[in-house]
Symmetry: C2
Subunit: 306 residues, 2 copies
């Protein structure tokens, strides 16, 4: 049995692409099942319920397992004891990470907005028909990851894949589905500060420094205005607990297309180096910045490497 | 301009796949040219002359260059100053190496016998016609890397790709072409011991130890019998000069399908751990072993990791 599993703190792409790719493998005659490294967020729950797809089982330890890694190629974002797992494939759309293998494997990364687009490409390559349900969750993953095609990572391939998937899933209004999906994560009133920070949080090793970057996408930044101080205090706490050099939280406004970046760091100059702007308190506004992967991680990695 | 370049100490696959992939890029409207990190071996020279294809220019330093890496994903096998290059794609068929990127890129590795098979797959995917000359060198690369389909790395995909390429290249007898190609590297009488060792030599970092593994494929091991002592003395010299923990040389008999492994090492027990056999002097016979990548590197990496 091969487990198809996305990254830690799973988002909609990570869970839906794992489900869809496991399904493709099964249709190609390979025993595979999807898994997830953590609880689904409210957006992912909504998507799975809407398209009537079962939540995959949980898997956090790779020991003695055959695994296909989805939506990541970094050890820090992968299963515990990854060195004791047999990695048989990697399917991703991020920068190439530090995972290595002792044997040749199939590794496909594409510079597109969503792993679901890569999975769609592979269905097409193998000429395997996509089920209606699977088309629905792949479409949802694309709308989620590309922020309804507004993220800088969005490519023509994502838009084309989404249109084709919408046809199969019989979704008539793609944009309405997108707003419905994205609004699920804007409901933050019932969340603790830590839940907001950790909603979609990733660890990075930047030139030997531990750096954590969270992101929350909101239909309106006013929703979160009154809670910023509380969140920053908790980011400071998380920084101490986790031994981080810096903890960032992207408050991304998906309608006005920009990000307020909250920052707690040992070295405030790193923000100026990376983004050309001085911190205003614990925050800077980054116009047009929507993508952690494409617009936040690369300048930070460069700034840390100096 | 994007440079398409294979690994250090280039073999036929590394040079021919770079040429063919640069050609595909050009046909897709992208400015690209092939390059090589070193001199072609006699086999590669023969192949390029036979199909009337120009030798690519040399490129050893990645500084300020846009590059597509072919047939490797390890820093040690790549361009000097790779951290100053912009890697735009990686096309490979080896184990996943330690190259990382700051941005998402196209990375395709397939567990097949030859990068040329991956390149052929991409021509087919983009529905681009393969020129007769290009088909000839891709076919030659497959015959070379899979040792005329005898290597353990050979897959059905390699055989199918070779058959389709032979048709385009108007090669009637694939096996005869294979033997003609492979015999070029059996001509060792004019080579120094160092040239024999370095013919196809790769550096590895195995659990912090520097390990070098060369391979020479011969139509008959008797050709090299009288020179073994001289070669082992020179391997000892290379080991000292390069600060290696171990230097291995695979003398691969492509007709009888097996490898005599010559060994100079700080720890002879590593050979027993890796291959279950004690050294006989400086040598062991490995029946059916033809592939460094699949049958020599993985057991050695495992042995070093204990």
């Amino acid at each position: 049995m091969i487990y198809v599993v996305g990254h830690k703190n799973p988002d909609t792409d990570s869970i839906c692409s794992a489900i869809a790719y496991a399904e493709l493998k099964k249709k190609l005659g390979i025993e595979a099942k999807p898994a997830r490294q953590g609880d689904p967020n409210p957006e992912t729950k909504f998507v799975l319920e809407k398209f009537n797809v079962e939540l995959p089982e949980i898997l956090t330890d790779g020991s003695n397992k055959k695994v296909i890694l989805i939506d990541h190629s970094d050890v820090a974002q992968s299963l515990d004891n990854l060195d004791k797992a047999e990695i048989v494939e990697i399917i991703d759309h991020h920068k190439i990470g530090d995972i290595t293998t002792p044997n040749p494997i199939f590794f496909l990364a594409m510079p597109v907005g969503c792993t679901a687009t890569v999975v769609k490409t592979l269905y097409d390559y193998f000429e395997v028909e996509i089920d209606k349900k699977i088309a629905g969750i792949l479409l949802s993953a694309i709308l989620s990851d590309t922020v309804i095609f507004k993220s800088a990572t969005t490519t023509e391939k994502d838009v084309k894949a989404a249109e084709e998937l919408a046809e199969i899933a019989e979704v008539e209004d793609i944009r309405s589905l997108g707003i419905e999906i994205k609004s699920k994560l804007s409901a933050i009133d019932k969340l603790t500060a830590r839940e907001i920070i950790k909603r979609d949080f990733k660890d990075f090793d930047m030139s030997g420094n531990r750096v954590g970057i969270g992101q929350i996408e909101l239909v309106d930044l006013n929703i979160i205005k009154d809670r910023k101080e509380e969140i920053i205090r908790d980011m400071e706490k998380l920084k101490r607990e986790g031994g981080y050099h810096s903890v960032f939280l992207m408050l991304t406004d998906i309608i006005n297309e920009g990000t307020e970046l909250l920052v707690v760091t040992d070295d405030p100059a790193i923000v100026k180096k990376a983004f050309g702007k001085n911190l205003d308190g614990n925050s800077i506004w980054l116009k047009k910045v929507m993508s952690r992967k494409k617009q936040v991680v690369p300048p930070l990695e460069k700034a840390f490497s100096y």
